[in-house]
Amino acid sequence: MNQHLALCIVPLIAASMTSGYAFAQTSVQPASSSGFQRSFQSFNPDVSAIVDMYYHQDDSEEGISHVIGETVGFGHTHGHGEEGHDHGGPAEGFNLRHVELQFSAEVDPYFKGSAIAAIDTDGAELETAEIETTCLPWGLKLRGGKFYSDFGYLNAQHAHAWDFTDQPLIYKLTLGDHGLNDKGLQLSWLAPTPFYLLAGVEAFQGDNENMFAYHGEEPLPMHDGPRLGVGWVKVGPNLRGNHALQFGAFAATGKHQEEHDGNADGLADHWLDGDSTFWGGDVVYKYNAPRPYGQGDFVAQAEYFSRKKDLELVAHDLAPQFVGNHRVDKQDGYYVQAVYGVLPRWRAGVRWEQVGLTNDSELPNGRTESFGASDRVGIMLDFTPSEFSRIRLQANQGSYETTDGTEDVTEVYVQWMISLGAHGAHKF
């Protein structure tokens, strides 16, 4: 063990001595002092923390989380761990989003690594912990660990990078508060094409609370992981000047299990097992204005998803005659948003979204139910004093089709967030 430790430490000491020597040798040039700092720092991971708080108020009786949870066609999944896990919804009043404590570094000439601990007042959980290759040829990259799927546009963005305080409805209703974030492997390929083409396949364990839930306990069957496969492609034409455009398409399919409590006695009485799939597309356009402090910058983005859950009723304590029949749910939704730099450091944005344009359920008893669509419009204004802080005001006006009828809810958010330490630049 000691020998092993020595083997690891010797090259480190040698490397730090070399950089020290380089510093001494060239110290006649004022510039090179920075070279030493840099090589010294490169042995430490970048550490950063995001502190993100917001105030929320809405005019619904039971709160916006409850209303969204009751949206017809999307609610009542009772997936794995959903009970007692509802920490995503905003409370009336002050909210503190988890602190994202991030560590990232180049590991060696072959790999890069990062880990993000999500810490809130109830404890800590691992948001992401990932390894990626930096050495594969032919535009390939392998990524592993627990990470956000790169499908679509918003999924891989952390909450602090969103242009609105809350998630679009379609993300929240299909994938839940965390989006698609799971343990797995991703292989992606930057094609040698004359335009930008990035394609990826991902295999995940299949542990999403809403769409790819797994219990694996009697009477539900067991399925070995990986239980979820995702594929996506992103294409970017070469636009001149400061314009950028990217189109994406994606599909995912995996195992899904649900347990339901039909008579509300607190005990599960029927169980479903089957496949869940979704597919969709995304588009992003960005214009980077020549003016400083973000004035004139423009971003427009839209995503559409369609999902289908095809589940077999594997057991039913109250209606065993339907066992073996299927329940098929088809829902979809989209959002479109645009953000513009109205003044130096000030941005204004608008978001329009609809869910349930298709909203059908075929039930195991042979009945078919169709529901209406919900929609929401949001506007926001944010001020970015520096790259490291942002203050945002947002208002939503939504009309939700719920099990209790149509509910109109107005919401207000005031958000204040900062970034401490060395936080890496964000992707496109």
């Binding site: 920075s34 072959y110 594969l136 032919w138 980077n288 020549p290 402090y293």
Partner: protein, 336 residues
């Protein structure tokens, strides 16, 4: 563990396999100034693309897909460094999946390592001081002596990447440097005194007195002669982006319109600055075209100073078509 070893071995082996070089080198630079100098040094042996066009603030760019594509094919990536590109460089390098241009690889050149750097913080800094660059001010390309050094650094790196063309790269760099010397001091003065000696005089502060000697006055030309009447003038700039230019040509910067780097001008700061500018006798306010001239005009109205708006990067204005032309343009605007 065995899988990891296998993967690493494959990585290493495949990495070696991809080093076969294309005919013309592909160079991508973060800024238009570096692109201009790289073109002069590489000549017809490389295709050079710059990411920043010179019209926008180089601190704020996007890692957009078309740029990732350029980086994917690059043999050499040249950056300004000193964290100028910190907001957008890494996603491009990562996204490109190009091992040749990763930090530390021969295909990654940070020219700040060869430049003379100013504003290196001597005391602990915090972000409360604004957008301070902890390793020094990154606007060093506006010092023509640094332009000279950048050309030399690019030539040496190209020579390393393509040894068979080393002589051509070094000759191109020398020609570029000679042209800069002559535009800086005038052909006659360079011939009489030698470029090395003249640059040394700009460094040790003896150039002004030297140019005042009648024998030299007649021979002097170029940028130093054009700006000689302005030597010692006190100026205000918008951002702390002109320190290198001012330092080389003997201008004194009294303050900036930005209260702190990266923070737009405020009324309170402008009032303070106006008082200081009046007391110091500031006659000139210098800024880039991409900033609003509102604050500069306000200060000019209070102090009677002249506002000079000029590109500080190649491509920032049509006349700034390459690096020497950029310097020509700045000198011309200032000496109008």
């Amino acid at each position: 563990m065995r899988t990891i070893i296998a993967l690493v071995t494959t990585c290493a082996a495949l990495g070696l396999g991809t080093e076969a070089m294309a005919e013309r080198l592909k160079i991508v630079t973060t800024t238009s100034d570096l692109a201009s100098i790289a073109k002069a040094v590489a000549g017809d042996k490389a295709d050079v693309r710059g990411i920043c066009t010179g019209k926008e603030d180089p601190h704020m760019l996007q890692a957009k897909p078309s740029v990732i594509l350029q980086a994917r094919d690059a043999d050499l990536w040249i950056r300004i460094g000193l964290e100028l590109e910190i907001g957008w460089e890494q996603p491009i390098l990562d996204g490109s999946r190009n091992n040749r241009i990763r930090v530390g690889a021969p295909g990654h050149l940070d020219v700040s390592e060869s430049a003379l750097i100013l504003d290196v913080p001597q005391a602990p800094i915090t972000r409360a001081m604004g957008d301070v660059h902890p390793m020094g001010n990154p606007h060093y390309w506006l010092d023509p002596l640094n332009g000279r050094r950048i050309a030399g650094a690019i030539a040496e790196r190209l020579a390393q990447l393509r040894p068979e063309d080393a002589a051509a790269f070094r000759a191109n760099a020398a020609a570029f440097q000679k042209a800069l010397d002559e535009r800086m001091f005038g052909v006659e003065l360079v011939k009489a005194v030698g470029a090395e000696a003249l640059w040394t005089k700009t460094q040790d502060g003896t150039l002004a007195a030297f140019l005042d000697e009648p024998a030299n006055k007649t021979k002097a030309g170029g940028w130093v002669a054009a700006l000689h009447p302005l030597r010692g003038r006190k100026i205000v700039t918008y951002h702390r982006s002109w320190v290198y230019f001012a330092n080389r040509f003997g201008l004194t910067i009294v303050g900036e319109l930005e209260p702190k780097p990266g923070v737009p001008p405020t009324a309170a700061h402008l009032a303070e600055l106006a008082a200081a500018a009046k007391a110091e006798g500031v006659k000139l306010i210098l800024q880039e075209p991409f900033y609003s001239t509102k604050a500069a005009n306000q200060l000019a109205a209070k102090t009677g100073a002249r506002v000079v708006v000029v590109a500080n990067a190649v491509g920032g204005e049509p006349a700034a078509s390459d690096y020497p032309a950029l310097m020509d343009l700045i000198v011309q605007r200032l000496s109008m």
